[in-house]
Amino acid sequence: MTAVSLTGITKAFKTTPVLRGVNLTVNGGEFLAIVGPSGCGKSTLLRIVAGLEEHDGGEVRIGGAVVDELPPGARDIAMVFQSYALYPHMTVRENIALPLAMRDLSRVERLPLTRYLSRRVADRRLKIRAAVADAAALVALDGLLDRKPKELSGGQRQRVALARALVRRPQLFLLDEPLSNLDAALRTTTRAEIVELQRRLGIATIYVTHDQAEAMTMADRIAVMMEGAVVQVGTAKCLYDTPADIRVAQFIGTPQMNFLPAIVARGAVRVAGLQAPIGLAPTAADGSARLGIRAEHLRLAIHGRGWLAGTVRHHEFLGAEQLIHVVADGIAAPPMLVRAASDDPLPPSGTRVGLIPAWHRMHLFDASGRRHEIEAAESTATQAGSRSLWATS
């Protein structure tokens, strides 16, 4: 079942195009993250799905029905805002109850004291109260229901925003950078809580974030947006292992992938004059290109034994692992990052070393940024699996 489908969504602010024909589907019960640098149009896209922004072209379907002409309140969605957007004059209980009160009570019935005049209103109010209590319990807010937002911590406010979103059990959750106002420790725990909550309720979710780590840890699938277009959609592993575009490769993964300037000529790849022992798919055209390789797919070797030669510049100790910065000879690019286990003995700064890539984990991106398949010999592939040669020598 498809929860949301977006077809050819375009949007321009004045003359600046913000969305250039976005196609995207969210499956029933799926957690989809939209990730991209700021200004890529991800928040605008979310606001278009919510109905808070009008799109210039294309079609938005929620639960199979076209909702282009419906106001936000009629789309059966709920949204959590980066600022939480709690009503400051209402208690937590009233904040959470508002979506239900707007839906289940008429204008007259929403007036105070009506519950004493009509049995029906009293019943509905009781139901709303119970639903609010349920929603509050789901996010561990019980006991805070009579407070005002200003009396809550940032994390508690965030929970109120979540409770207000889920109290109505909508068809679709929209979350716009909901964790960016929390401190780092709280962010990590809240991530897991939101994912668990989403699984439990089984409600399709679109989650917008600029933090690729957040997207990778939370989402079933991730859509990477760049300059108003969706560049790639896939699972975290798919995006990490086979980025379709150099911008995806640059954006996904910490530390960033290493890139080496390369020349493709007649099916062969050369980097700084050295031939790389890899075969190319016939799709790759001749010309300048870039070879990408992640830090964990590089190993250090004794000087003279690797493919590339270089000098160690700097170490970063990260606890479970460390990153070694190596400036490769004859390559005008930022230092290559090599990932090593934290207990590996390491060459001091200034040491001359060799670099051995895991050839089959290399990515070739052509001048337009598109990725091409690489074929590497099996022997060179297995060789890369073991530990640093430098360490064992």
């Binding site: 808070l52 936000p72 309140g73 709690l86 004059h89």
Partner: protein
């Protein structure tokens, strides 16, 4: 270390001295002077000043003119404040709801605030003139009897209140506009998603509650401003006809600068300020607690 501290302190005092001396000389001493004179029987031009004790205040309590002018002032303030706040709020909402001619309307409605009241009073006097004024010409053209807006004892106070509303609405409108600007768009978005997207629902759910603190301020300021009504009365009606438009500031002015009874005028002033201060305090206490969300 201690020497440097002391030097710094001396320098600090030196720097605030000009302002402090000015404050004491032009604000604190005159205020104390007024309070002191309220307990004297001083007439302007008289050589000897005697201590009058509470005489001025007991006279005030039995003064029919003062009672009349206090009542008039309260009626005036109670009609100008709510209407000018309500109109200001409506105008601000109307102007903010559309970008069409926003700058024009904003300046148009703010003009009465920056124009000289006395000059405007003369214009109003002409507009409302029983035989020459265009307003009465219009009324006559409709076949209705001409009205002596400023000469009729029953009409003069409402007419002055009308002019006061015209004067204050623009000011309140600008304050409300500033308050409207401070409401985060996110709240309107959240309300829309939650199902409150019709204008009236938006207004009740978001706009009015979040304008609360601004509105309290606007109400208090309007009340104080309307309590100080003087120029229109002095320029047009002189408190007449038959004291129907006599207001407190005008009474004080007459006692002090026409009858030269400085002692009594001072007592009036002290009473006026005390009452005003008390009212303001009560209002802030009562309203602020209900609208401050932090």
């Amino acid at each position: 270390m201690r020497g440097r501290r002391a030097r710094e302190r001396r320098k600090a005092w030196l720097l605030v001295a000009p302002l402090s001396i000015g404050l004491v000389l032009f604000l604190v001493l005159p205020c104390l002077g007024v309070v002191a004179m309220a307990f004297s029987d001083w007439h302007l031009g008289q050589e000897n000043i005697g201590f009058a004790g509470l005489d001025n205040f007991s006279e005030l309590a039995n003064d029919a003119v003062f009672r009349r002018s206090a009542l008039n002032t309260i009626i005036y303030a109670l009609s100008v404040t709510p209407l000018s706040v309500l109109l200001g709020l409506m105008l601000a909402l109307l102007i903010e709801s559309s970008t069409l001619g926003r700058a024009f309307f904003r300046s148009a409605f703010f003009l009465p605030v920056i124009s000289t009241t006395v000059a405007m009073a003369i214009v109003w006097e002409f507009l409302l003139h029983p035989s020459l004024g265009p307003v009465n010409a219009l009324i006559a053209a409709l076949g209705l009897p001409r009205q002596g807006f400023l000469n009729d004892a029953a009409l003069v106070l409402p007419t002055l209140a009308g002019i006061g509303i015209w004067e204050n609405t623009g000011y309140n409108m600008v304050l409300v506009m500033a308050g409207l600007k401070a409401i985060p768009q996110d709240l309107y978005d959240a309300a829309a998603v939650d199902g409150a997207h019709r204008p009236w629902e938006r207004f009740w759910t978001v706009t009015l509650p979040l304008l609360g603190p601004t509105l309290v301020f606007v109400v208090v300021i309007s009340f104080l401003r309307s309590f100080r009504v003087f120029e229109t009365v002095a320029a047009i009606t002189q408190g007449g006809p038959r004291r129907a438009s006599e207001v407190i500031l005008f009474t004080i002015y007459q006692e002090g600068f026409v009858f030269f009874r400085i002692g009594y005028a001072s007592a009036l002033t002290v009473a006026f300020v005390v009452v005003l201060f008390a009212l303001t305090l009560v209002k802030f206490r009562f309203l602020d607690r209900r609208v401050h969300y932090g």
